[in-house]
Subunit: 379 residues, 4 copies
């Protein structure tokens, strides 16, 4: 069996950092037989790119992602560039027979995503979309608890993803760092950026959504342009978006995300109420899963704060430190890369793969369509 | 000025207890010039009624509310009987020139409520609907903070009211204690029982709602009859209900209530995100208001846990104990009765009056209509 | 059997209010056969006294506690006056054959307390010292859990009682309201006022203390006199006091109390670590008991937040409202009076009685002695 | 200026891992001009050692620390071996002119530590003892707040360090992994292992301790030998230890640590009460610092939960991710190594250096002496 895999990374922004770190750390903490080799990183600004490559140990650089894909020494293309580049890169990488890891949201919309899924299926290449929050140990534990039947029939799924970083009307639009406010680059606002995470978790934890109705809002409708602050542009992304959903299993869902919740920095939460118990998660306190076990002695039960850091009992934690020693945001990416490697090593389905990403995109599209039309959308 | 007011109470169930206690306590802790006299309590079971009257110090009993209203020594009718009796009692009491306190929800629907408002207006009698959660000191403080401009422009209003007491399929429907599951007696399920509270607070704190879209669900569709458990009846109330709303001030609202959230006993919460700050409340920790003040020193700000028990600073608390000494559920009713007395003493608008209750009922009706039709409802 | 008991209350300050309220409420919520009658209240200022009596429904007043005791219509003397009056009143009341309830600390020191215990024993009168925190439902539940063996062998007992109300150097000493700062009236500072509560709970929950070593401090050593703020007096009470203890059962104890902990208003806490589990309590969140059950499934255990408001399962709560509806500070006194009545009705030992109060006083004396000498004290 | 530093690590256990990771990560996240080179790692088991070296990228191995020190290519000796080896290694390394990083506790006792300090002073080599909890951003922030005068005069310092990992009586003593239970290897139990951390933080945050009185206890007095579980040995370390202290600044301190607190895994906490405010920290929720600011508006103040993850405002966090993205245990070591490098680059005092470690050791010795004698110890 091969014992290394040559990685070509596209993008050296925030996600480029998280992935670079993940490649360096994954094999130090998890016992892999396949080791990633940081072969090349690709970006448009050669000076910044070289600094990034030097810092993280990328062996070479490319300023054109097409060249990166053409290189015969690259086996895995990891896409950390803005959303509007995902499709073209995936199509080309698949065609070239490369393995693919793609940051979320998979695409700007479901029709793009469909083409991407078709391409990787046709090419038969391993592929994964990087919904990192599945890899928070507390969230992975939640999945295990649901699969074990600890919640029983699910009645309610309740998700929020709240931030506050775009509340200033001075914050400009566009450019390399603020493309998330530019509908052309991002596809959508919080729907693709934040709700996509909440939807991915919901589909994983509670199964398919059958129908939904949504509302969205752009609170600040004009912003200065990053390239030229004397000019302004109309903001076309959604600043906030919420929807009601019915799951196929009969549960009701409520979802909300915004970048206008003062004081909430990255509050990605869910609560699931089942017949036998409730679990609740808040990423701002990521080492904890709250659990109410209805089957426990009724005089002494309550919401338990499970500190998810026991190596013997909790996902991923056996490879880190000891109980009482929490981990952080970056570890979710290390786990994602490690899980990708395990998938290759054990020849199991990568999870979530691009098809899973497509399913999330279908829900995102339905959310945006419902927010525009005011009517329920079937899925 | 009169220094007493003769009260006739209708209903001796759970709400009858909270009100009886409130009449006894209000003047011991708040310096009123008008003192309520517990003149008569009315209920259908004379034996239980007498026990109740003896316990709480009601001077006399009646088994027919019409007789209670006819009594010339009764000046205030306080209605704590099931929802389907509210209208008739209010109409009769108003006609008889009695002051009126009515438990929430005001009526089974807005058209009933409209008639009630017209009746009290025509009669010119003081009237109040008892939305007790306005009288939680932390909630009253929230109102003051909003009025002072501490939140600035409001972007989001987020309310939940979660319980779990009807999850057992063995729980019967109907009868004196479980009329809340009977659509005929209750009008609706969680919408009238729980969402009405959330809506009342939202209208008070964030102003009118312009439009909404809702979904509801009955999880357990058949239940044994309380009167004859060998028979069952179709459940026609909503077990859970959620809606999305747009406020007139441009804010987005999400509301959810259910009786199927394991482990949540009376979790009445709201969070309001404004330009300048956020406040968050959870009745299960009722002596606390969380506050994020964006204007504070950015290195040292965070969500502050305001313990709302400082007599010099916080609503109502100057009349209780000392800082560090919390109050409980029953105090919200004592505050409501005390506020009613202050209104009489100072001849100010009672708040919320039946017209306020009617406005909440309009929203409830829109929620139920939207849940039935699947379309947005304008208000 | 007698169905009433005539009460004479000494003191109409803060504790006079809590007790007056408790007498009024106890029988409304708890099914007693013996009902207290508010016969007379005693205080030195006749005007304020009459206002107090009118407010709370005391039938008559006395300005000399000796007269109160002499009255043949008084059966129970309830002592809510400053600490330095407790002994004389108890001795006289016992001699007169009255039942006795005495606020804590029982006395200024153990030798006084010893005389008081001897007096009530000789007189054979029912007696109770009012350590109200035993009657917090969460604390009573903790006692039950320990008695059930849920903690197993106890290793650690950790108590804090933190306040901040005397931190201002402008706060005067002495007088009717600030006698707690006057060593002559109070006997000691935080040791008698706060530590006495912590010690009472510790002895009740974890058993006798064998030895201890203490330190204390007076942070503000001179204060203006309340009677004449132009003059100042030396402060002779302890502002803060902490001690280490060894329990007879082998557990280690740490205790601390202060009135100089900014932001802590009435933070009376304990945590008990046993072989099988841990419980933790904080009065500032009094409806909650935290519980770590080591015997639970190790993957899913954590500190459970038991919301102690379930009527079927939790002490006292079946007589209040419904789950989700918390109670407050005043209820601890209502429970104390109710328990006193149950004790009379069922002819069981009142708990804690004056002998229990004496044992707590012995520990307080040892704390003060050790703080003075710097050496371990045996008990 | 040199731009690299060759590291020789002694020990490949738990601390060896944390330091190895720290060397790899420090320069990726912090902009250093001096980069550590992982030159050699030293341990006794050559097979395990090689596996460790391969995993972490150590260029070579040594099985005798004396040889490591002799190597001319090694510039920095980092000591992660058991406590009883620290002194000899430091003395030799200093003599050889190597820079030194030493894990805590610095030594088995203060006389050892004194020799070590003398040695590094004589040699004039840069040196640091690795009290990693100073490098939790929330703790560093606490230090800044105190230095800024945000607490004012300090009245109370309250520290706990609670674990539960040695509660099983089956846990053996001695050997490579459980030397912490062996007094010969560890010097002491929780005093050196846990209290040393609490004391280091206290001296840093609140200044010198003047006197103290302590108690300690060994709960399980005999344990099987790891080498031969059929035999048992007397346990000579302290399982739990607590002390009362007076700081030079007049504040009172309480300290407690144990390995017998069920459910507490690594609960390293402190609370500091000052005239102007209180701060509280709990490592089990390490991204948070609680702060009560007495100078804030009295109606709206409370304990603020400062989420210490704002890059612009909070120590270290500008080099990690974005607000809302917490860090974990391992980052404290990365910060320690980074701070060591900054010290070299900027030629500033390393903090804490071995002299600081010696001062902590003096307090530890006083604690053990007082626990043995039962009397107050002066410092």
């Amino acid at each position: 069996m091969k014992n290394s895999i040559n990685v070509g990374l596209v993008g050296y922004g925030f996600m480029g950092r998280t992935h670079s770190n993940a490649y360096a750390q994954a094999c130090k903490f998890f016992p892999h037989t396949i080791h990633p080799v940081l072969k090349a990183v690709c970006g448009r600004d050669p000076v910044k790119l070289q600094t990034f490559a030097d810092n993280w140990g990328w062996e070479s650089t490319e300023t054109d992602w097409r060249k990166l894909i053409e290189r015969s020494d690259i086996e895995l293309i990891d896409i950390c560039s803005p959303n509007d580049t995902h499709m073209d890169i995936v199509l080309a990488a698949a065609k070239a027979g490369k393995m693919i890891i793609c940051e979320k949201p998979l695409a700007k919309n479901a029709s793009e995503a469909r083409l991407m899924v078709d391409a990787v299926k046709k090419a038969g290449v391993p592929n994964m979309v990087c919904f990192n929050y599945r890899r928070v140990p507390a969230v992975t534990l939640a999945k295990r608890m649901i699969d074990e039947g600890r919640l029983g029939r699910i009645f309610h799924y309740r998700a929020k993803y709240l931030q506050d970083w775009t509340m200033s009307s001075n914050l400009p639009i566009g450019g390399p760092t603020l493309w998330r406010l530019d509908a052309k680059a991002a596809g959508s606002g919080v729907t693709g950026d934040l709700l996509a995470h909440s939807i991915d978790l919901a589909l994983w934890l509670a199964g398919p959504i059958q129908e939904l109705t949504a509302m969205s809002k752009t609170f600040i409708t004009n912003r200065p342009l990053q390239a030229d602050p004397s000019k302004s542009a109309k903001v076309e992304i959604d600043d906030a978006c919420a929807f009601l959903a019915r799951f196929k299993n009969g549960a009701l869902g409520t979802f909300e995300s915004t970048r206008y919740a003062r004081g909430r920095k990255n509050q990605n939460t869910f609560e699931i109420n089942g017949e036998l118990g409730t679990i609740a998660f808040d990423f701002e306190n990521m080492n904890v899963l709250e659990y109410y076990d209805h089957r426990a002695d009724s005089a002494y039960r309550g919401f338990s704060k499970i500190q998810v850091w026991d190596g013997d009992k909790h996902p991923y934690m056996g490879n880190w430190w000891v109980p009482g020693c929490g981990i952080g945001y970056e570890h979710t990416f290390i786990h994602a890369i490690s899980d990708f490697l395990y998938g290759l090593e054990q020849n199991t389905k990568l999870c979530p793969d691009l098809e899973d990403g497509y399913k999330t995109q279908l829900v995102c599209d339905a959310v945006l369509a419902s927010a525009a039309s005011g009517s329920w959308q079937q899925l």
